[in-house]
């Protein structure tokens, strides 16, 4: 190998592969027959004792009910020739509802009658997917059921949901492809404030799952105090997002366990974005819009991808079902590959690594922790990484961590100064600082002193380790680890992305 090739082989300047640009889609040879059904086809949800458990956290329930309003009002404005009011009057109206959310769920069809007259078939897909959203939340919030029961019920709910022809696919889909059409991006470009509201409540709809999943019901509400505040003060009004929030970004633990449900939600939100963009096109006739909306539905339906499998498919096409390594609950994103993806606000990440120390996440044993702060959620290897990552981030934070008891999840919430409260009384920490590749061994949390003693006794190199209280542990800080590696690549969503480094991952 020549010297030049050797040098360039480790730091090759590769031209950024251009973003996929797909032509205007054409109607498929055969659309599902139900698209032409004239009936209203209203479906009731699975009768069960957990339904409406969301009302156990009234503020959360009301905020979720209010999310029915935004798209419906915007779509109604778009089909009644009021697009020029979207960023002014419609935005104010939607915002007022979000600030004063209703106590009861809203029937979207009743607040968008002209839209439903034209796109009633689309509303069936939305309604059925929204039902899945609410029922999965209800299951997770139901008191008196074990985590095993809840998980089994969510699996049953997925089967129930999938039994209807309106079901959206649970396969990961290529988001770059789905956002590549001539109309793509029109809505967020022309109506950034209203789009900001939509992506803001997509943030809420996605972030809530890790707030609930395997979390004791008594520990769910305190988290919402922080999440709800963030939602209302910041997330609803962000206009700087590069892409819609993805469920696995916001709720990685839930996504790992329920990839199909997670993918269905992302595909649903992408369908919303496609419809926003189509309806915002001034140069498409009504019948052309109808066709494009039907095509957009077709793209994400489960029936369209019947027999296909996650991990397979031709890249950057409709049937591309690849996913980032270890994340079957997420499709490929703009510029991403199986080992890295760009997360808006965080930059390029390798989701198989600790977000704080860049060491790969453990495959076995307690899985570490997640840290939620500043609107993001990251997975880390150990308690030290969790604490220090939260400590270097302004604002309040939530840590959800594995303990020695797989049925007891630790939930800690910090104030603005990094003072932590814990849902488990008497927790004990182990932190015998050593090499970062082993941090998941020497940095842990236990539900009791006896559990700590049992563990330490089994590991010779931890002999003499000191048990730390929450207060003692909170005051430690080791800063950013030496092993941390930030992937310095340009933002792939920015126009004309410059040359992208193809970088080595090892040194």
């Amino acid at each position: 190998m020549s010297l030049l090739a050797l040098i360039l082989g480790v730091s090759t300047f590769a031209q950024e592969s251009p973003r996929v640009q797909s032509p205007m889609p054409e109607l498929p040879v055969s659309l599902p027959g139900w698209l032409s059904n004239r009936g209203a086809d209203a479906l009731f949800y699975k009768a069960a004792p957990y339904n409406w458990a969301i009302n156990r956290i009234p503020a959360f329930a009301k905020d979720m009910y209010a999310t029915s309003v935004g798209h419906a009002m915007a779509y109604e404005a778009l089909v009644t020739g009021k697009s020029q009011e979207l960023e002014s009057k419609t935005f104010v109206t939607i915002d007022r509802v979000l600030k004063n959310p209703p106590s009861n769920p809203i029937d979207e069809a009743e607040i968008s009658p002209r839209f439903v007259q034209k796109y009633g078939y689309l509303e069936k897909v939305f309604d059925w997917a929204h039902t899945l959203h609410f029922q999965t939340i209800d299951v997770l919030m139901h008191p008196g059921w074990s985590d095993t029961q809840k998980e089994a019920e969510i699996d049953r709910l997925w089967a129930f949901y999938s039994s209807e022809p309106y079901a959206i696919s649970g396969l990961p889909t290529n988001m770059e492809y789905l956002d590549s059409f001539p109309y793509s991006g029109a809505f967020r470009k022309n109506y950034p404030k209203v789009n900001g509201l939509f992506w803001g409540y997509h943030w809420l709809q996605t972030v809530n799952y890790d707030m609930l999943f395997r979390v004791p019901t008594a520990d769910q509400k305190p988290q919402y105090a922080l999440i709800g505040q963030r939602y209302h003060e910041t997330e609803l009004y962000r206009t700087d997002r590069d892409f819609m929030p993805m469920t696995a970004e916001m709720s990685p633990r839930f996504a790992r366990r329920f990839p199909e449900v997670t993918n269905a939600f992302d595909n649903l939100h992408m369908l919303h974005d496609n419809v926003n963009d189509i309806l915002a096109q001034p140069n498409l006739s009504d019948s052309a819009k109808q066709s494009q909306v039907k095509i957009a539905i077709y793209r994400v339906l489960a029936s369209t991808h019947r027999g296909e499998k996650p991990g397979e498919g031709e890249p950057k096409t409709l049937h591309d079902h690849r996913f980032p390594y270890g994340m079957p609950g997420m499709g490929m994103m703009v510029g991403s590959d199986e080992s890295s993806m760009y997360m808006s606000g965080m930059g390029w990440m390798d989701m198989s690594e600790c977000a704080h120390c860049s060491i790969p996440l453990p495959d076995e044993g307690p899985w570490g922790a997640t840290v939620s702060a500043e609107g993001w959620t990251m997975t880390v290897r150990c308690m030290m990484c969790a604490r220090d990552m939260a400590a270097e981030t302004p604002g309040r934070a939530i840590i959800r961590a594995a303990t020695e008891d797989e049925n007891r999840l630790l939930v800690m919430i910090s104030d603005e100064e990094g003072n932590w409260t814990s849902n488990i009384k008497g927790i004990v920490f182990l932190e015998e600082f050593g090499e970062h590749p082993n941090c998941s061994l020497w940095s842990r949390v236990f539900t009791s002193r006896s559990a700590f003693d049992i563990f330490v006794a089994k590991v010779p190199e931890l002999k003499g380790a000191k048990a730390l209280s929450l207060d003692q542990w909170s005051k430690l800080n080791y800063g950013t680890p030496d092993t941390y590696r930030k992937l310095n690549r340009p933002n792939p969503y920015h126009k004309d992305p410059p040359i992208r480094l193809r970088e080595r991952r090892d040194e």
């Binding site: 050797l6 730091s11 930059g347 302004p394 100064e417 003072n419 310095n488 040194e507």
Partner: protein, 154 residues
């Protein structure tokens, strides 16, 4: 061959990933300490330890923090930051501390928005960096400059 390998290693290290995050205010990458100069600006309060790119960014972003703050602003001396404190909303600095703030683009803020333990240190820095029209600012003057409405931020 040995020289070639060394050259490769040098090149590699130049291209190596810097282990850094982004400034919470200006969103540009944090500048890490080098062997010749400290660059990390650290804000401490409670159990939090937040890094900023420069002193300007700290003062611009301070409104988000409601409590007392301690700021370790890198000075001309390695390992000896100028310690600024905000107590009950009032800022103080050590006697003799002097500030520089002349950047036009935020990409230059780490170099051009700094604290010094003395006027002499400031003058040496300005001379070494060949900075023109650099004015030594007291803490109050620095705050006035930074917090005035409508700056040339980025």
């Amino acid at each position: 061959m040995k020289r070639i390998l060394i050259a490769i290693l040098v090149l590699l290290s130049a291209l190596a990933f810097s282990h850094e995050g982004d400034c919470p205010y200006c969103k540009l990458p944090l500048v890490q300490n080098t062997k010749d100069q400290d660059n990390e600006v650290v804000v401490k309060f409670g159990n939090k330890r937040i890094e900023y790119r420069c002193v300007y960014c700290v003062f611009k972003d301070q409104k988000r923090y409601k409590t007392d703050l301690i700021v370790y602003a890198p000075s001309e001396k390695i390992g000896e930051p100028v310690v600024l404190k905000r107590t009950a909303g009032k800022w103080t600095a050590p006697d003799g501390a002097v500030f520089l703030n002349t950047f036009k683009k935020h990409a230059d803020c780490a170099e051009l928005s700094r604290a010094f333990s003395s006027r002499a240190a400031f003058d040496k820095y300005v001379t070494d960096k060949k900075l023109i029209d650099a004015k030594a600012l007291s803490l109050l003057e620095f705050m006035d400059l930074v917090l005035k409405p409508v700056g040339t931020d980025k």
